[in-house]
């Protein structure tokens, strides 16, 4: 049984933000989705979220959808930071990027990403991804417990 949590979407492209949120909504995921547009903001958000444990337990992100190509700090740097935080290091991170580079793939997995998905050129196909997220990651998969 998964607690209530939010999904953190780190993405700088406005269109991609719309497509992902659409896919999540259309697949019936009701968790709130927090969107930040760059790497630095992502870190700051998590820092804040990590502090307010009591109030925002419900809205603490348990899943991050992370683009790699971000301004200020890259997705890989964010990932690295996440995995270094005691609070967040167990968080499920799903890399969603246009990069087909094997180097990026290797890096992402080495730094601890849970999945690596390449953005489809037809965003309507993201609906299927949303359904898979709901079914597996948020359904079958048990989220890691929160560290107090």
């Amino acid at each position: 049984m998964n607690r209530n949590c939010s999904i953190l979407h780190v993405e700088d492209d406005a269109d991609d933000v719309y497509f992902v949120s659409r896919a999540l909504r259309d697949s019936g995921i009701e968790f709130p989705v927090e969107v930040v547009n760059d790497g630095q903001s992502a870190i700051e958000f998590l820092e804040r979220a990590g502090g307010r444990i009591r109030e925002s337990e419900a809205v603490k992100p348990c899943l991050a959808i992370l683009d790699l190509n971000l301004p200020h700090k890259s997705g890989l740097e964010v990932l690295q930071w996440i995995r270094e935080q005691s609070t967040w290091k167990t968080m499920v991170v799903l890399v969603l990027t246009s990069s087909t580079s094997e180097t990026d793939m290797h890096q992402a997995y080495s730094l601890g990403a849970n999945a690596y998905v390449i953005k489809p050129s037809d965003a309507t196909k993201l609906l299927e991804l949303g359904q898979l997220l709901k079914g597996f990651w948020l359904g079958w998969n048990q989220m890691p417990p929160l560290i107090r």
Binding site: D13, D16, S98, T100, S121, D122, A123
Partner: protein
């Protein structure tokens, strides 16, 4: 006739001869027919003897016939007269007949021989007609001597015989006379004997001393035998000596004649006294007659005559001389000669003449000239030409070497060649010398040498062995070309090339990075465009009129095409510059996987049949690149079919040497020959866009990938009958 007897006796004392014989005459006078022959040295003795002979008869009242030469007839008549015989009276009485020998001979000669009948007529008549005294008739005949003088010895003998035959009929005493001078040669001995044989008695010439008694005569004969014997021995010894002398002379002459150098003798006045065969050849004479006796100055070039004259004068004065001058032969050929002349004593004139040995030096001059030219060539060459002996000591040094190395010849000749080498190169010398000793040649050996001022220079050396006439290596000749400039230029060029290559590489890398990033960056907005168009279709399906739906669909279609293009460009980029590690790839398995996982909906729609034919041996390649190639080729095979045709594709392989050729055959529309040349190039499309979709990059990617894997790609096709694309890669072992 006491007067006659007295006459004959006194006549006896007057001459040495037949007086001698006739004195002995006791045994002779008794006979009626006698045929004497006497030989004489000089005419006076002959006349005296004949006068004695005839006088004796005339004194006794006998008749006398004289058949002699006019001179002898006259002398005889005078002698008889001097002896007290009245020739004139006897002649008028017919008791003394004097006839001319030649005329009388002519009367009975028949051609070459005396005619017997006519002889009898002429001489016989004469013998009969001349009145005889009590004692008989005496005759003196010179006709035989005349015949012998004419060389008709046979006729003379025949005449003697005729006289003898006549003597058998009539009785008379005949005296013939021959001059001894006719019989001087040993060969005439036989004739002499024959003549003597025709006579009853032969009397020796007046030089024979008058012997007295029989024993004295015998002793005389013995002495004569000894003298004759001694003479014979002396003669044969002299003959032998002559032979030897002749043969030695012939040998010496042969030596001179065959001497290959010209040997000549020149008189003080310049006349050519003798010249040998080599000399004749040198002056272009055919025979010795052409030049003997001419002035030697005629054969000397005018400008050299004074020098020759001076030399000739010295030689004839008694000194040895030598001269080089030019001669002009009888056929006007000019040549340079060298002569060594010595004085010798001329055997006739007892003065010095000029004996010379002359040699044609044209060859030597030509060789000298050639050598001078070669030396000039070496000297004038810009390259350093240096020779050294087998100990590495410099023997010669040309002007080029002075210029290249900075040393003057006198500074380096005799020094070891290692003075030209910087320390780190000195160990080259033993190796070079060893190869030279073996007769090897070293060509274009690039190394470094040191100038006099210490500066280093790059040189290209060619070292050749120098051999003596017997082929033994005695040293080396070295040509050193200063290639410092060339070397520096080459280094500079290489540097420039390296820089440019690096620049090019950077540029190419930049371009590739650029194209990659551009293509990559194009993806995001394209994705947006494409996705919104789709959402438009999905979300507003009901409110959108058909036209609107159509527009949205077209946006999507275009976006997809652009996406395919970008994907291909990115693929090409990856295949061009991405890593291409090669490993053993199981192509058969890979192909089957590709076929099985083919996502293209067209595949199912078209009902295409793809046959992968075993065996397909493994190749050396890159999995990702090969996947790309096979996918592209299969995709083409299925795509390019005539409408309504079910695509049939066969994948198979052939082995050749160390390559594997993988073929993908289809039953598509085929490609024209012209098209086959273009299809592997970037963006080449053979068909209009609406007939068959495609970016025009697919085959370019295949070609690039295959080339980077070390292979080749090609096509065989006939329009309308399908195509066979082949990929050739190295066989994996």
């Amino acid at each position: 006739m006491n007067l006659a007897q007295k006459t004959s006796e006194s006549a006896v004392g007057a001459s040495a001869f037949p007086a001698a014989g006739l004195q002995l005459g006791g045994d002779l006078q008794g006979r009626a027919n006698e045929h004497f022959v006497c030989f004489f040295e000089d005419d006076e003795s002959l006349v005296a003897s004949v006068a004695t002979f005839l006088g004796a008869g005339l004194g006794a009242g006998e008749g006398a016939i004289v058949i002699a030469t006019p001179a002898h007839r006259q002398a005889l008549a005078e002698r008889l007269k001097a002896n007290g015989i009245d020739v004139a009276t006897l002649q008028s009485r017919g008791q003394y007949v004097s006839l001319d020998a030649a005329e009388t001979l002519a009367l009975f000669m028949g051609g070459e021989m005396p005619d017997e009948t006519r002889f009898r007529d002429v001489i016989g008549k004469c013998v009969v007609d001349t009145p005889k005294g009590r004692s008989g008739l005496r005759a003196f005949g010179e006709m035989v001597a005349l015949l012998v003088a004419q060389g008709k010895t046979a006729a003379a003998l025949r005449l003697e015989q005729l006289w003898n035959e006549l003597g058998e009929i009539h009785s008379f005493k005949l005296l013939c006379a021959y001059p001894m001078s006719r019989f001087r040669e040993a060969a005439r001995g036989e004739d002499f004997t024959r003549i003597c044989n025709e006579h009853t008695c032969a009397f020796p010439a007046e030089t024979f001393p008058a012997p007295g008694t029989y024993t004295e005569r015998l002793r005389l004969v013995a002495e004569l035998q000894q003298r004759a014997g001694a003479l014979e021995v002396e003669v044969s010894r002299r003959k032998r000596a002559e032979e030897e002398s002749r043969s030695r002379e012939a040998y010496l002459q042969a030596i001179i004649d065959n001497t290959p150098e010209c040997v000549k003798v020149v008189a003080p006045d310049g006349t050519l006294l003798s010249i040998n065969n080599a000399g004749l050849h040198m002056v272009e004479a055919e025979s010795v007659e052409q030049v003997l006796g001419i002035s030697v100055f005629d054969l000397i070039a005018p400008e050299c005559r004074d020098a020759f004259r001076a030399m000739h004068k010295c030689v004839c004065a008694g000194t040895k001389e030598r001269l080089e001058y030019e001669i002009v032969g009888l056929k006007h050929t000019r040549r340079w000669v060298e002569t060594h002349a010595v004085p010798i004593v001329d055997r006739h004139a007892n003065q010095h003449v000029h004996l010379a040995v002359t040699r044609d030096i044209s060859e030597r001059q030509r060789a000298d000239e050639a050598q001078r030219q070669l030396a000039a060539i070496v000297e004038s060459s810009d390259d350093a030409i240096v020779s050294k002996n087998l100990n590495g000591i410099i023997m010669s040094w040309n002007r080029g070497a002075e210029r290249v190395f900075g040393y003057k010849a006198e500074e380096v000749v005799g020094k070891p060649v290692t003075i030209l080498m910087p320390p780190e190169r000195m160990d080259e010398e033993p190796g070079i010398l060893a190869r030279i000793r073996k007769g090897e040649r070293i060509e274009h050996y690039e190394t470094v040498r040191r100038r006099k001022d210490g500066g280093l220079l790059n040189v290209s050396l060619t070292v050749s062995p120098v051999k003596d006439a017997s082929g033994r290596v005695i040293g080396a000749s070295k040509i050193a070309r200063d290639i410092t400039d060339t070397v520096r230029a080459k280094e500079k060029l290489e540097q420039v090339v390296a820089e440019r290559t690096a620049q090019l590489r950077d540029t190419v890398a930049e371009l590739e990075a650029f194209s990659y990033s551009v293509a990559h960056d194009m993806r995001a907005p394209l994705r947006s465009m494409s996705s919104y168009a789709r959402f438009l279709e999905l979300d507003f399906a009901q409110s959108l009129p058909d036209q609107g739906k159509e527009f949205a669909r077209r946006i999507t279609a275009s976006a997809q095409r652009l996406d395919a293009l970008i994907t291909d460009v990115l693929n090409y980029s990856k295949v061009s510059r991405g890593e291409m590690t090669l490993e053993k790839v199981d192509v058969e398995k890979l192909t089957r996987e590709i076929v099985d996982s083919y996502p293209d909906p067209d595949l199912q729609q078209s009902g295409a049949k793809i046959l992968v034919q075993s065996p397909i041996p493994p190749v050396l390649g890159n999995v990702a690149a090969l996947t790309q190639c096979i996918s592209n080729l299969l995709s083409n095979a299925i795509k390019f079919v005539a409408p309504g045709t079910v695509p049939q594709v066969r994948v198979c392989a052939e082995k050749s040497a160390d390559m594997i050729r993988i073929s993908i055959e289809d039953n598509g529309i085929g490609i024209s020959e012209e098209g086959q040349k273009r299809i592997f190039r970037m963006f080449q499309r053979l068909n209009p866009v609406d007939s068959f979709e495609g970016t025009g990059i697919g085959l370019t990617i295949v070609r690039k990938a295959v080339e980077r894997m070390g292979g080749r790609v090609g096509v065989e096709s006939t329009p309308g009958l399908g195509s066979k694309f082949w990929v050739e890669l190295k066989r994996a072992v």
